[in-house]
Subunit: 138 residues, 3 copies
């Protein structure tokens, strides 16, 4: 009985807003733009977020024209920066639906890039698992 | 014991929204663009989401310039595709605030279109009932 | 007793972030555009939301090029309208990261403007405290 009351108290405390005690923040960024200015903006946002809220889990989902962010052929100006972030735990996820549609093979992606079945599905899954969502650019 | 059951009942009532065990995913898409390329992008996203996560509930909210997506005068190129999605349960919701401002009457909308009092309010309600949010296009 | 523990476990799993009974709605708007047409659109959205759902808490976070929304030098056409909304409780928050990067001092902001350490971090905090999110413009 006492343990039940403790559990209930913890539940009540953790209710307002889903973030549970001890959890770090979690944020998924959506990128759909092939504009390098947008790429810089989203990377700035990721870095600023992690400075302001250290330990925040971050995943950047690139789909549609935004897939180019993760393609070696297109991303040379920001690849080193992303590789560094990836080493710190930031996930860069390419949409396999977009890859199929654009005939992009996995070896055309940067080595640090991961893939997900569907960019949109990944964003929905993350949000419904309690991640914050940030839509980047046009 | 009785007090515990009351607390549990209150908790259950206060949870409306969160993804409960067994629930399918739910996602609300915001469309504010009158650009047909954005329309195709959002419809692609809806279809890809439902392929990746079958049974996902989807609502597309069109407001501002995006209202044209649901106007017969403007949407002939994507109307059949939307009608098909609507038959599968996808909701297409036009913002009544926008309709008033732009002097659009209900009979100017496609027959499958539904209406909501305010597109923004609808998006807020859906998110706070636990739906994921996807912002489409510029 | 055993059934109670099962219910509690299910509740804990389903927790991530719901609107509580009695709560008003809460929405955070992100503005990153220096385009006055976007400013008018976001202010329209804020007003329409508060008409449709009276009592909704609203915060508008301006960062990146969107910081100009809150700078006296740039916002003369919408300042009075924002001041009025601020008096009604709408929060307008300028990103201090952006201010540093653009060498903007607090006295260059409108008097009603507040500041936050990081616009993106603020948006993540709000969402993970249960606020709905609306991304405005390109």
């Amino acid at each position: 009985m006492r343990i039940l009351l403790v559990i209930l108290a913890l539940l009540a405390v953790s209710l307002p807003g889903m973030l549970q005690a001890g959890d770090a923040y979690r944020a998924v960024f959506e990128l759909t733009s092939d504009n390098p200015k947008q790429w810089t903006a989203v990377l700035n946002n990721v870095e600023n977020l992690r400075k302001a809220l250290p330990g925040t889990s971050v995943e950047v989902v690139a789909h549609g024209p935004g897939l180019q962010l993760l393609m070696r052929e297109h991303n040379s100006e920001v690849a080193a920066r992303m590789e560094d972030l990836a080493k710190q735990g930031v996930v860069f996820a390419a949409c396999q639906n977009t890859m199929k549609r654009m005939n992009v093979s996995p070896d055309q992606l940067s080595p640090f890039a991961q893939t997900v079945d569907s960019g949109v599905a990944e964003i929905v899954r993350k949000q419904q698992a309690g991640w914050a969502y940030l839509r980047s650019g046009g």
